[in-house]
Amino acid sequence: MSKVATMKDAVADLVRDGDTVAIEGFTHLICFAAGHEIIRQKRRDLTLCRMTPDVIYDQMIGAGVAAKLVFSWLGNPGVGSLHAIRRRVENADPGPLEIEEYSHFGMVCRYVAGASNLPFFPIRSYYESDIPTVNPRIVPIASPYDGTEVYAVPPLNPDVAIVHAQRADAGGNAQIWGLLGCQKEAAFAAKRVLVVCEEVVQESVVRADPNRTVIPGLIVDAVVEEPFACHPSYAQGYYDRDNRFYLDWEATSRDPEALAAWLKEWVFGLESHRDYVEKMGAERWDSLRPGDAPSGQVNYGEYA
């Protein structure tokens, strides 16, 4: 059964006001196009979860979609700050933003617990750190076997996880290569899953290389084909990270008026990500195209 939908319909169907939403992807495969559609549809009071909120959550929080942020590293990677988020946290400007903070491993293990139907996950982080003092959901516990002290983090089960893949079939079986982040964990932990991909491919393409399938259609609600959906993040083998955009974001994000103007021009003023791609222009996309480095092939064997 085909789950292929448009971004507009998929977001309208799967993302609701007040939801806990995880758009994951660690630097790689961050689905900006889905974030933009959530902004466009004016969702409100979301709890946004991500290890690294990145520019996408700065845009979404700057646009007023969120009431709360759950994260482990808050910055513009390799550049500096996320000023729309900082304004909310430091000065409650234009309103307060509730935060719930972990370390990277803590966030990953929250998804693992959520995906595994476990009440908590134990890790050897947080000893003698102040993080548990500001986040009472991180709790020291003793091993029932030898008393070793570890810290428990609670499961994270988003209402909806949005993950981007290089390719998926119409049933939602999604294949990813390059950095895997914690998309698989987030997807299995979520109640609803939206897969966005660069290309929808035939099921036979997936079945020819099953080791590369990260997310099975079994847990996927909708599939959206949206080329360049990760810009200014990247898709390994398809387009490079647009570092110029990340650098430019520093000035845009610092000035609330510039941020509002950016949202008006690049999100509210456009119908869809197709328009965004066209507006960005062929020259920009050409500049981000990588050279070729194909993998070798393995032989799975025919066992008829």
């Binding site: 290890m51 590293w73 491993f105 000893y127 982040g181 698989k184």
Partner: protein, 269 residues
């Protein structure tokens, strides 16, 4: 205050008439700490340049681990973030972040972890979370990322940061990542792989931690830096090793690699 002290690049030549910038000296001195090779967990920003310089100079066999899920990275260009696609192509292994943090880091396979800091105290405890109060911070910093678990699980921790009265403090505003407690007996009993930071390299000097007291101790001054200047740029009176040495200056090759290959835009150096 020079342009370098607030993190901006530039002013590379002619600063203090030495032919290199303070940041370049810091990068070079840090890279040389990695001469023993092994498995090195690379952080964002300066550590990224440092580790890639070390791989091109003192430690070609260094295994670079990135928290984004790469073991044995062999980047063709300087990675502009810790999730740069150049880290993936040609690497030894790519894995999920769960595997990276659980099987590589928490299980004790990482020899050296690199950390930066907004604030550090005399025992190597680190703040990367907030300046001021946590609930209404004066400055909201990025937070832990992987720093807290690197501090706890890497066998050795190297810190690289610019030094000043606001960064070398008596009391942290927030302890993100634990260092030494000041009680060696307590530290030995706490049962982590790591032993707190072993080296701190700044734009002015290099510090080690005293065997008995676990206190950060001034071990080397960078060329052209005086002891008074170091004192002016920290909030406590430093203990100094008896045989205070000078850091050997950057070589032409080290400077060439930084300027031509690793940071041609001068973003960090």
């Amino acid at each position: 205050m020079t342009a370098n002290e607030d993190g901006a690049g530039g002013n590379r030549t002619g600063e203090r008439g030495l032919g290199w910038s303070k940041s370049e000296m810091m990068i070079v001195a840090s890279a040389r700490q990695l001469a023993d090779g092994g498995v090195c967990f690379v952080g964002i920003g300066l550590p990224n340049i440092v580790c890639n310089l070390a791989k091109r100079t003192v430690a070609p066999q260094l295994d670079l681990v990135y928290e984004s899920g790469v073991f044995g990275a062999s980047p063709r260009r300087l990675p502009l973030s810790i999730g740069d696609p150049t880290l993936v192509s040609g690497s030894t292994a790519v894995c999920s972040m769960f595997e990276l943090f659980a099987f590589y880091l928490q299980a004790g396979l990482v020899d050296v972890g690199f950390l930066g800091a907004a604030q550090i105290d005399r025992f190597g405890n680190i703040n990367t979370t907030v300046i001021g109060d946590y609930v209404r911070p004066k400055v909201r910093l990025p937070g832990s990322g992987g720093a807290c678990e690197i501090a706890i699980n890497a066998k050795k921790v190297f810190v690289i940061m610019r030094q000043g009265r606001r960064s070398f403090v008596e009391k942290l505003d927030f302890r993100t990542s634990p260092g030494h407690s000041g009680d060696r007996e307590h530290d030995r009993r706490r049962g982590w792989w790591g032993s707190g930071p072993t080296v701190v390299v700044t734009d002015l000097a290099e510090y080690r931690f005293d065997e008995a007291t676990a206190e950060m101790t001034l071990a080397r001054l960078h060329p052209g830096v005086t002891l008074d200047e170091v004192r002016e740029n920290m909030a406590w009176e430093p203990t100094v090793v008896p045989d205070l040495a000078e850091t050997p200056p950057p070589t032409d090759e080290e400077l060439r690699l930084i300027r031509e290959e690793l940071d041609p835009q001068g973003v960090a150096s």
